[in-house]
């Protein structure tokens, strides 16, 4: 009896060892410094590639790839202008996104809890939702009195559909037991929406809002290419027109940072609102 067992353990000990040593065992050995280095390795690599590229790529006189130092300088110089641009962009993004969130959530939950409203609205939403919102931009500019209003409208349309659709599915997927409990408690329709459907649908709603916010940034910058006189997208386009690539790249990096910070903020809000989800 002892022989096969010994054989088995031997075999077992031979096979998994090499796999394990490349797995968690090794990164534990690295310590915190090693792990910190790993998580910034991509950044360092990209920065290095950028630096070397800007020196050695044969681009002639036209510096399509400005060096990191040059870009950092341009970024520093443009900060006041970028800040004004940020304010201008957010005066479009925030109203559009906020109205889209409020309307998307209210309409989504209302439709999602009523089979009848679903029959009426969902076929329409299926057609209207996937239309790329960018196609509305020229018409919005033509119809609405100011550029700002038309840009807000386009951001609104872009953010509305994902939020609406996620709110609908959030309300729709409300578990039977919560519905039963709400009925047992005799909640009114409004109390039911506010204290049961809304919190239960929040995980869906926040994913919708994350998609909506990302869409908002895309639409915002695209809209600014059409007719803005300030803003982040406008900044990038403006300096590209003048072939001022250091400033243009600085604008791209800055816009990326603003988007990242906004998405992170939304994620913070989500975590706070969903603390009970464990």
């Amino acid at each position: 009896m002892s022989e096969p067992i010994a054989l088995a353990t031997q075999e077992l000990s031979v096979i998994p060892v090499p796999f394990e040593s490349t797995g968690p065992g090794r990164s534990a050995k690295l310590g915190w410094l090693g792990r910190a280095l790993e998580s910034v390795a991509v950044w360092i690599g990209l920065l290095l590639a950028w630096y070397l590229g800007s020196i050695y790529l044969p681009l002639g006189d036209n510096p399509l790839l400005p060096s990191p130092v040059l870009t950092a300088h341009a970024l520093w110089e443009s900060l006041p202008e970028l800040w004004t641009g940020t304010l201008s962009s957010f005066s479009i993004l925030l109203p559009g996104f906020t109205v889209a969130s409020v309307l998307g959530i209210v309409a989504g939950l209302t439709v999602g809890t009523s089979p009848r409203l679903q029959r009426i609205f969902l076929p329409f939403a299926k057609v209207a939702g996937p239309v790329p919102p960018t196609v509305y931009i020229p018409y919005a500019i033509a119809i609405l009195p100011t550029f700002k209003l038309s840009a807000i409208f386009v951001v609104f349309i872009g953010a509305f559909w994902p939020i609406f659709q996620n709110a609908v599915s959030g309300a729709h997927s409300l578990e039977q037991r919560y519905r039963d409990n709400a009925r047992i408690l005799g909640l009114t329709r409004f109390e039911y929406q506010r204290r049961v459907v809304l919190p239960a649908a929040l995980p869906h709603i926040f994913s919708g809002m994350a998609v909506g916010l990302a869409f908002s940034f895309i639409l915002l910058t695209v809209a600014e290419l059409f007719g803005a006189n300030a803003g982040l997208g406008r900044f990038v386009q403006y300096y590209a027109d003048f072939a001022d690539y250091p400033k243009m790249v600085a604008g791209i990096l800055y816009t990326g940072l603003v988007t990242f910070v906004s998405m992170t903020l939304l994620d913070r809000v989500r975590r706070r609102a969903l603390f009970w989800l464990k």
């Binding site: 919560y178 409990n181 408690l185 005799g186 919190p199 239960a200 929040l202 009970w276 464990k278």
Partner: protein
């Protein structure tokens, strides 16, 4: 005038499949009635009908003379699990029930009253916690507290201790009996379970449902003195005999169903 819960010829079908057939039971006010049945006997469905969450396909269902047409605060329900809303703290879960039962009471008083109910079920330490942070037993204590907070004279319990470990289950059974025995006027309780011992330990009376379709195959008194002593009761000949009788009835029903199939 017929007080209490009256089920007359209750039938329920899901699409064309009959779930319940010709259920006739009269539960007088203040009675603790256990409803026992195997899975598939439609016992939970019957409880949902009494709660007003579903409507019977046939027959008449009345509580204190009024035909049941939908859920009402008169009839509180405790489900097996997840009765509490996970996004509300334990105390807020109770308060929402008090707010519906007594709309005129101010919020501070409601909170105080909610605390009172939580104390009653031994959950005062978990007042500010959220259901996700509680064990199954504690959640069910909260569910009982909420049902009590509704102030319903009729309590419907659908295997409320079914998901608990034996120790917690025994504790909560005793807690439920204690609360029920102390309350005046006595609440009427319809307690659904598939556990014969639980049904006999808790109830004044035991109604047994057979399967496919669910129908009453036994309706017997559980004549043990109260307050009941768990140890002496479970050691007694009388309980043993009753348990045998119930088991035999259930086995016979299964046998007949197999023969028919």
């Amino acid at each position: 005038m017929s007080l209490g819960l009256k089920l007359e010829g209750i039938g329920f079908a899901y699409d064309v499949t009959p779930i319940l057939q010709d259920i006739n039971v009269h539960v007088p006010v203040g009675q603790f009635i256990s409803l026992l049945g195997a899975s598939g006997s439609g016992k939970s469905t019957l409880l949902r009908l009494v709660a007003g969450l579903n409507q019977p396909s046939s027959g008449r269902l009345a509580w204190n003379g009024a035909v049941v047409v939908g859920p009402s605060l008169e009839r509180g329900v405790v489900f097996q699990d997840y009765a509490l809303f996970p996004w509300l703290s334990v105390v807020d879960n109770i308060e929402i029930a008090i707010a519906k039962a007594k709309p005129k009471v101010r919020k501070a008083e409601r909170q105080e009253e909610a605390r009172e109910y939580l104390r009653k079920v031994g959950l005062e330490a978990a007042i500010g916690k959220y259901p996700g942070e509680l064990s199954g037993g504690m959640r069910q204590r909260g569910a009982i507290a909420r049902a009590l907070a509704l102030g319903s004279p009729l309590l419907l319990m659908d295997e409320p201790f079914g998901a608990l470990d034996p120790v917690n289950r025994a504790r909560l059974q005793d807690l439920l009996l204690e609360i029920w025995e102390q309350a005046t006027p006595k609440k009427t309780i319809l307690f659904v379970t598939h556990d014969v011992d639980e049904a006999l330990y808790l109830g004044d009376r035991l109604v047994v449902l057979g399967s496919s379709p669910g129908r009453v195959i036994a309706d017997l008194a559980v004549p043990f003195d109260r307050p009941r002593q768990r140890r002496s009761l479970f050691g007694s000949e009388a309980l043993h005999a009753l348990r045998e009788q119930v088991a035999e009835t259930l086995a016979e029903d299964t046998l007949q169903r197999l023969k028919a199939a």
